[in-house]
Amino acid sequence: MKPLCLLAAASPDPDDAHVDLVLDPDKLRVDAYLVQGKSASVSQTNENRTPSSYFISHTHYIEVRRRWYNPNKWLRVLAGRLGETLGGRAPRSLTAFATLLAGRKHSASRVEWLAHLAGETGHQLGRQDQIVAALGFVAAAVRFRLEDAADLAWVPVDAVLRSRFLSGIFVTGPVLAVVLAIVHHDGRYGMVLNIQDPFCVGACTWGAIFGLRKYRKVKPPEPKPRRAKG
């Protein structure tokens, strides 16, 4: 709960800076000093306690956490600062930046985002709302990029999972490596003693490939039917 105190102290909003929490983690006790007396859900649990000692109820903890961890609030503060810095062109500049960040693959998003900023008839977005939306576009562009990067990273993995031959190499390769290492270090007798090691490695790699196939919903091709003799 310590970050709660830090966030409360760092709040830029003077209207909400009415709760100053001092936490005592050893005794799991919260001493709440009510500056403006707005925190009605903090209850004094023991009459013998000093007037400033309170147990904080879970509801109140959630309420305070929502107040300070509310991303929309911090986004609005950031939007205000950006609006001051960039002036009237802030939403469009941010949208252009988001389009650049999203890349050519998502270039259609630019028109879509500009239509979003334009709002609809009878419901135009205010300037601060536009900046908040444009910051959201930047966040969306970052996520597009991350998802594209993740897709790219899965390509070789999917290739291995789709091919029986490559999957076989990924299972037998580590097993052979372990066998060779054991024979090299401990000789053939060591191989007899450590026979469980290559089995474990094989089982783990096979399990990983089986699990990844399920996760990625990849099915390897059916094995070719063997030709009948004669």
């Binding site: 500009l114 239509a115 979003h116 959201g136 966040a139 969306a140 597009f144």
Partner: protein
Amino acid sequence: MTLITMDVLDVVMNAPADDPAWGLRICEESGHGPGSIYPALERMLRFGWLEDSWEEPQPEDRPRRRYYTITSAGRAAYREANAARDARKSASWHLAPRPEGRA
């Protein structure tokens, strides 16, 4: 299926056919920001749960909107996710019936 995906599908499914859902409206009706909504829409387009179309004809005073409509695969996925959620809820919150004959 994530909460955002469910909310987006909710909005898209409930939009009238003559006025389909688009970015700003989905953000406002679902209560999520554009930073979450647009990647979710993109993902659903990739899965084939949604279809997109551009506003026709091009309006003169503003850029074109991108409209989203749900596909049959999206409806099926939504129904399946709703059923799974209901099953989870009933499993966690309903008490087992008391066996007969016991006080």
